[in-house]
Symmetry: C2
Subunit: 228 residues, 2 copies
């Protein structure tokens, strides 16, 4: 018995657990988009993946474990999808337009980004109902996007002289405007999804650019140079 156990221990026999869990995650994401995170039930996910509940319970002992994994997998997938788009280098157009295109990558302006936003909202909702002592995970991503906005707003300073621009715009003020922008983006996203007929994608773009134009700059340009 002991000798035999020595041979068999730690040998995954048939299937790749991680791959199976990934399949489950994809099925669960489809359900989240269809019915929300509350629709992620043991039976429902198993049926969506074409399994039985018993098989699913071999990989996730609890509904809680299942949902926790799905939240984690969704967060990772969103990071892989959204971050490259946000961090894509931008050189064309005015600075206002550059920052606007960065921010618009995060807004639910078309079906693809609406899906991403719905998944993101599900993750945030999960974290709100299951606060963990290690702090919020999504808030770290929020801060990453926050830093992205900071970097973009630094580019908002006079482009000719990037060396001493920090004197005109101290870090504190840039941080403040990044925080304002961050909050404004959350509000825009909230309005777009909550009042679909009232705030359209075009309206959101106009509001966003209007706010960006109001960011104080050392060099006041002509009247409407960055308009279109």
């Amino acid at each position: 018995m002991l000798a035999r156990a020595y041979y068999h221990v730690d040998v995954p026999r048939l299937v790749d657990h991680d791959q199976r869990r990934a399949e489950l995650g994809e099925a669960a994401i489809r359900i989240i988009l269809r019915e929300g995170l509350a629709g992620v039930t043991v039976r429902g996910v198993a049926a969506e993946a074409g399994w039985s509940t018993g098989s699913l319970r071999h990989y996730f002992s609890n509904q809680h474990a299942l949902q926790a994994y799905v939240v984690q997998a969704t967060t990772d997938a969103l990071r892989r999808r959204v971050l490259p788009r946000v961090q894509r280098p931008r050189t064309e157009g005015s600075v206002v337009e550059q920052v606007a295109t960065i921010v618009e990558e995060m807004l639910p302006l078309d079906d693809e980004r609406r899906e991403e936003y719905a998944l993101w909202s599900a993750v945030v909702e999960w974290e709100r109902h299951h606060p963990q002592e290690g702090g919020s995970v999504t808030w770290n991503d929020q801060r990453a996007l926050h830093r992205q906005c900071v970097a973009a707003l630094r580019g908002h300073e006079p482009v000719r002289d990037p060396g001493q621009a920090t004197a005109a715009h101290p870090d504190a003020e840039v941080e403040l405007w990044a925080a304002l922008l961050h909050t404004f983006v959350d509000g825009l996203a909230s309005q777009i999804v909550n009042t679909p007929g009232q705030v359209s994608a075009g309206t959101a773009g106009h509001l966003l650019r209007a706010l960006l134009r109001a960011v104080p700059r050392p060099d006041p340009p002509a009247h409407h140079p960055q308009n279109r």
Copy 2:
């Protein structure tokens, strides 16, 4: 038979239906605050009010009818509670401070306003899942608050000369800043409830006042005149 029906028709016999429905509404509101709108079940509300499901179904034939009534009652209650606070006349402090106190009446900064915001979110969520052809009801309230912000921002113009201020600040620009403020408030509320440890009431107040100070004015004051 016909003669008797003539005497009995339209005579409510024992209880006041409206009052009973109001009792139900209060019980349902307690459940919404505890478990969300999805927790408003026929059985749950009846138990919360101390009734049986059969009695409840005498007043609401469906769960849908129950929830629709609860949403309507909640909307009315919120209007009665929040609007007077928002529309309270403000004369003291700088204009930035006046507008800030107006906006802060709508933010979930303490337990009372957190409750109101939770109820409001439940109503918005209901309207998102049950769009009605008559347009959004809550959007009308949003627009009322929007107009309140417009009026407040008009006061943001030079106080000495309210007559010709409309020339310096045309209506379009005031409308734009009111919309920006409206969106910003939504984002602030969203951040406060979604990331409780990260955006405190004080942070929200600072961000709000920073944005308000950035509203362009014809008369640039001294460096930090309205700071405290």
